[in-house]
Symmetry: C2
Subunit: 163 residues, 2 copies
DNA sequence: ATAGAGCTTCAGAAATTTCTGAACTATGTT
DNA sequence: AACATAGTTCAGAAATTTCTGAAGCTCTAT
């Protein structure tokens, strides 16, 4: 533990996983940095320095992470530099963002059902697809609810610090 | 309904959604074609014709769809052309394929926990991340089980007929 | 007010992904 | 056995994504 080299290597590895998952490259690296830093909050400059990226690239990454709600801007301590940090519910948010993908699939299926005739193979197939995504969408709220309960009931990794 | 133009437009639209979700472009278009065709099975040639794509591109797309288990090769009727069709459980498979992504996140978190010291902010953050993905992974089997039950009990979520 | 640090935007460069076309392999037909 | 059709592979072309660097804007402190 406490292996500085291993830490950033692990961070970059996580960034790759996030990229596969659909995040843009620099956004993924930035998110990983937020996770692996020991600072309570970081500035754009610090991110750029650690990732060896231009200010422009960092700016874009922060913008997109803010947009999807994974990080938040801290009420400025009073200074020139903006401070950001990972949001408390970042993981649930990241997971939930797939709801929109599921809804999009549902819509696509519905559109297909509209333009095909009842009984046609395509119509049947699309109906099954719609059923699945409808089911999935209906299950998600309960799943997140169980997560919050699970969290409340003080499981492992419990001791939070505040700031 | 039964609008040939609208049908393929809807198919291409679904392909875009699938692409956002991480599928390669041609694989996504091919999968959409499998969904929207009225044929019970299709050949590589038919796909290439409909999508106006080269045989090489189609070959690659089929290969990758087979690899993730979304389509299957039909026991050749006896001929030269290979026939393929969408697998019955394609949607559950597509959904489940995210399990590997979740496992990858879990592994990345674990790696980070290894190289940080207990009590460090990063260590705490990574622990919370691990907790979430552990929870998620544990929930998935139950969710798929409920889907299969839901399916059995024949409620096709609406006014569709069965076949 | 002015200076200057930090941030954003954007055009063009660089890197990556994706597709085509042609050569090659395999298989069924005559 | 020879031919022809279906499918696969792969190098290079095309398209797309992503990043840099520079210009411009904003806001704090002097």
């Amino acid at each position: 533990m406490d292996d500085e080299h291993g830490r950033w290597e692990a961070a970059e590895r996580l960034a790759l996983v996030l990229t596969e998952g659909g995040l843009q490259r620099m956004a993924a690296r930035t998110l990983a940095m937020f996770l692996f830093t020991d600072l309570q909050s970081v500035t754009a400059g610090e991110i750029g320095e650690r990732l060896a990226a231009s200010a422009g690239a960092v700016s874009g990454a922060i913008k997109s992470l803010l947009a999807v709600g994974l990080i938040e801007r801290l009420p400025a301590p009073g200074s020139r530099r903006e401070h950001y940090r990972l949001r408390e519910d970042a993981w649930a948010t990241l997971f939930t963002s797939q709801n929109t993908a599921i809804q999009a699939m549902l819509d696509a299926a519905a559109a297909g059902i509209e333009v095909t005739r009842t009984g046609d193979p395509a119509h049947e197939r699309l109906s099954r697809m719609r059923d699945f995504y409808e089911f999935l969408l209906a299950e998600l709220p309960g799943l997140l609810h169980r997560w919050h309960q699970h969290q409340q009931s003080g499981q492992s990794a419990g001791q939070e610090e505040r700031r």
